[in-house]
Symmetry: C2
Amino acid sequence: MSAIIKDIEIIKSKTTKINEVDFNDLKFGNTFSDHMLVCDFKDGKWQAPKVVPYQPITLDPSAKIFHYGQSVFEGMKAYKDVDENVFLFRPLENFKRLNISSKRLAIPELPESYFMEGLKTLLEVDKDWIPKNEGSSLYIRPFIFASGNGFHASPADEYKFIICTAPSGAYFSGKVKVLIEQTYSRSANGGVGFAKAGGNYAGQFYPTQLAVAKGYQQVIWTDDNTHEYIEEAGAMNIFVRINDTLITGPTSDRILDGITRKSIIEIAKAEGIPVEVRKITVSEVVEAAKNGSLKEMFGAGTAAVISPISGFGYNDTDYDLPELEDTFASFLKKTITDIQTNKSEDPYGWRVKLD
Amino acid sequence: MSAIIKDIEIIKSKTTKINEVDFNDLKFGNTFSDHMLVCDFKDGKWQAPKVVPYQPITLDPSAKIFHYGQSVFEGMKAYKDVDENVFLFRPLENFKRLNISSKRLAIPELPESYFMEGLKTLLEVDKDWIPKNEGSSLYIRPFIFASGNGFHASPADEYKFIICTAPSGAYFSGKVKVLIEQTYSRSANGGVGFAKAGGNYAGQFYPTQLAVAKGYQQVIWTDDNTHEYIEEAGAMNIFVRINDTLITGPTSDRILDGITRKSIIEIAKAEGIPVEVRKITVSEVVEAAKNGSLKEMFGAGTAAVISPISGFGYNDTDYDLPELEDTFASFLKKTITDIQTNKSEDPYGWRVKLD
């Protein structure tokens, strides 16, 4: 790590907030570590990244982020094992997806070393912020936004790439009840649904509020044309278990290529669970709920890891899922979390140890 | 106006930048007036708006605007006639649409008086910034964004409503050549396409760059499902003239309810131009271009007013539009601009004089 630290300028905070934090009572993403990585795109290129004290960002009111939503982000986690070793999970996948998102949003792509070395340097500086408690981790938020100015509706000429970190507890507590959406949509064919673009999330808030008012916690998004195909679960990918087969929709330009999603597919296959990656119709899920073959549904994503679903609403009818003893969800969650936190072997080579 | 000024706190700038500005050489939206209106949503309500010197905005790195694209905006113009009277054009329509956009983006709706009185006060303070030159105006940019903090993907608890103004020249110079899009899409059924949401614009930049690389200036968006229906022209609504009939698509949840669009429909009808508001297929436009009945196409929006199209590309073929002497575009542009700038009567009651 020392070579990397030498490469990236570090301006250390004179004080630390760490003693104000109760690591036994962490919420999700609202406590921030002492430092952040900042990297500016200007004069046509990405400038050298720096680690600086966590601090406010100052922008002109005409900065394009305020007007044209030009922003992308990633979600990652760092874990500490009992020996205080620090691990990341498939970080290169996040880097690659960030650039895929950036390209679609007309944001200049980032050099790999700026992302990877920047991230490792930041984690080395703030390693004391990585929680050791079961179920907690350091949530990592790399993001890029248009900081260039002007009201012309065109890509900015300046951007900021920032990584902030937040020691975090669980995203959801307990099972969630979901509403299969029949009116609103998350993404269009040929749109930006596959990208982690800021605007994809803002558009989900209002339909989710309507679902919450009806007693659900999350929306299951369906295709915008027929509302007959299940696509995503809020900010997660979705898996359905019918009998003993695990099914998830194929990625497309409407669906995020989730890293937890593809890891789960690989683990399930390796563990002998039959997996189908294919379009899922709402009608087959409703039918399976009625005839008892629908055993489980769960969301999968970095923030929530695996989020079991207790039931769903559709056409003004609620369908409860069975309470099983041994679920795919809990088995897969334990398997992936054990890999992430160095409690088990990592036959896939996904874990990256920082040293 | 004095009563309104008394109601809204004004903190005047100690200096002015106005002498640095060449009002005979204004670009679009990159020169900003001395003041701005700022209004914060916190503690569950919109606080009193204030006019303050144009100044940078400082936000926490976790502010939701950077992560979840929760932002909406409007575009308006103020005009000065030869006697230095100041006029707005249908400002209440912008206010109403801002709240329609906000609702869809889960942003708290704004009281009408905060918008209208705030705007009038700001324009009174910066009235010297309103250009008098032909073709120039004061572009007005009201916008709201999520300033509240946290990485949880949910609506913010704090927002900023700001109005900035920019003395501006033409948005486009000359006619534009457009590409009818067959791969990418602007919006989904049940999505946020009807809202002036930031994310709608960022998603257009990359496909527009691809079109520019092929020699076009703008993209004509089609429906995401079949690409068979013409929907919008970049940041504008689109009109097609076949023989002597003016046609524009109906508004929907995918298409912005443009104020210039609906004003043009009304003017055209009043002037005896046959107008059809109905779905327009790409195939009928191509067919009309081939048989010579396609006389004109133009975009319509606040920034560009009316932007004539010289030709379009579709299926790797370019179609040129005829060079007519008297066009609907130039007639309608003169008619609406004369109303806006107090050069003609305003039988519609659209012009609002500030006093």
